[in-house]
Symmetry: C2
């Protein structure tokens, strides 16, 4: 059952409009979510619309929130998200990082008073659209343990980057946990078990039942102390340095009192390639690196070595032509929102 | 068998002086290596002195090399390492990032024409010494495979960060491979086998004999596609964007013709905390985060949850008091250098 990106966007915008957002903000928020769906990252796309709307209706997210710069310098800005949707504050904050990078070569923007921002890659790619290298990250309510602990300590604190390379987009968007919580939720919704290593139980022992998450199990950090260390950097740059809530202070946008702001933090970096090197030279050097990786000897049975973002770009091209084939659990969520809001969900 | 940090420094400086470096550069290079040893990161400390001296003597590293800024803007600088030791170019480049961050809030410095830089954490910590958040990374000759490939494709491309938190230093220094190559070399030198998962053989199958590395085995990326993606970001920021050699173009400082420059690249970011937030507030917020992590419920048998860098700081305090207890393989390397150079290796 396919749905076109335009139809998805129309649905998202109308739902957000009904929840009180103005047209501009409804479009910004929808664009970020539909971008994730177009890349096949359905755990962070319109699937979460219902959760956002619930908070918008209850007041924990301010439908009239308008992010603003509260302090700035030549290459940095602090942004207050005004308790608006995470997608709105994050898009605005990355635009500030891009503005600073345009003037100074590199720009950093720290965002507080925000909410769950969806897919980090959406914001990183905004910089790439401007011919820049973009990096985006955010903190989240704790769902991930750290070495030695037996409960949640830090969020899944994702990091994404995007680099333009000619017509190609190199894009990585990863949780610093072994897998993102969304993958565990999807497995639970689909009734599947999950591989050992993704979660641990309340005693810190390996567990495989996704339905225990997040109450009775915890995500593991990717590569043990390495993922812990990277998650902590994300927490410092996105939470500590921005004035947002930190670690256990960040509320879950999905599980906690929807009338309270979650106060997520996020941070964004843009690097202006042309400050350091002409785009022609950079693209040539990127192409040479990409060729070298793709031409490496392959293990038996492998036809192609993928560059990060290649799968997402192919997915998007296909989605633009044929529409998106949403997984069942995502459809179920969209149908719920459609029924609740009375807004039709158009289907091809 | 203990040796004091001062004695180690004296030995390092004299060896570098004999190899033709001036006093200032001999001190800079030694400081970076001894810092790694003081933290217990012996794989990236003075152990590698012999390898550096071999290249200095053969001309692949220029003993008279003096790094310089070749282009700069408000928040960025491009640095040419002049084929000097990696420690010299990297210290200079991080100083430029700090200078830019002082002026603009954040600074980026890209370094080309450098060499193996030792422990990335040394440069990140230079920024922390100035009350800034420091990030350091570099590319290296390929020793790590990527998903789908069966030989080396990218370097172990380390990432380090350092954050000052009151009197404490939060410090992470990790290879983007499952483990750094140096750990495999150490196991080989000590005649130990290594756990499955660190390396794969020429067909891409798991292997456990460290003596096969690097000729007949390859490191694995940490957390599969996640480590691959992060290594690629390091390669882009440190190699592609700086004008340095990229991936297979980077020579091994240890294995390849010592008369040729290796042309490693590296990149450095400094973020001025006080631009965004007072140090008092930042320290308070950091302390609260650290307390929250340390007070988390622990798995049975664990007394303390470690903060990244805590082990290194304890190691350094102990080294300052009692000297360093170098592992046997490091001693063996230092004795070799002492015999080769005729410079005495003082022992307590």
């Amino acid at each position: 059952m396919n749905i076109s990106l335009d139809q998805l966007s129309t649905f998202g915008r109308e739902v957000f409009r009904q929840a009180g957002l103005n047209q501009a903000n409804a479009t910004i928020a929808t664009d970020a979510l539909v971008a994730a769906d177009s890349w096949g990252i359905h755990t962070h796309g319109l699937k979460n619309l219902g959760g956002y709307v619930k908070r918008l209706n209850a007041g924990g997210i301010n439908p009239l929130g308008q992010p603003r710069v509260t302090a700035e310098g030549p290459a940095w800005a602090r942004v207050d998200g005004d308790a608006s949707l995470g997608m709105i504050g994050s898009t605005f904050a990355m635009q500030q990082a891009i503005r600073k990078a345009t003037a100074s070569g590199i720009g950093f923007a720290g965002l507080c008073n925000s909410c769950h921002f969806g897919a980090a890659g959406c914001y990183a790619s905004l910089a790439a659209d401007e011919g820049m290298i973009g990096i985006a990250m955010c903190n989240d309510t704790p769902t991930v343990t750290v070495p030695g602990a037996r409960g949640p300590v830090l969020g899944s604190n994702p990091i994404a980057y995007a680099v333009p390379a000619g017509e190609q987009l190199v894009l990585l968007d990863i949780a610093t946990s072994t897998v993102a919580g969304g993958k565990v939720f999807s497995a639970a919704a689909l009734g599947e078990s999950i591989p050992e290593g993704w979660i641990v139980d309340e005693q810190g022992r390996p567990a495989t039942d996704p339905s225990t998450f997040p109450g009775k199990s915890t995500l593991t950090p990717m590569a043990a102390h390495k993922g812990y260390g990277l998650a902590l950097l994300v927490e410092i740059l996105s939470g500590v340095l921005t004035g947002a809530a930190v670690a256990g202070g960040v509320l879950s946008y999905a599980y906690e009192d929807p009338s309270k702001p979650t106060n997520h933090g996020a941070s964004f970096v843009a690097i202006q390639i042309e400050a350091l090197m002409s785009r022609t030279e950079f693209d040539k050097r990127m192409q040479s690196l990409i060729n070298e990786i793709k031409n490496a000897p392959k293990v038996t049975g492998v036809q192609h070595i993928l560059i990060p973002g290649e799968r997402e770009q192919k997915c998007k091209s296909k989605a633009l032509e044929e529409g998106v084939n949403l997984p069942d659990d995502v459809w179920a969520k969209l149908i719920e929102v459609s029924e609740f809001s009375g807004i039709d969900l158009p289907v091809d």
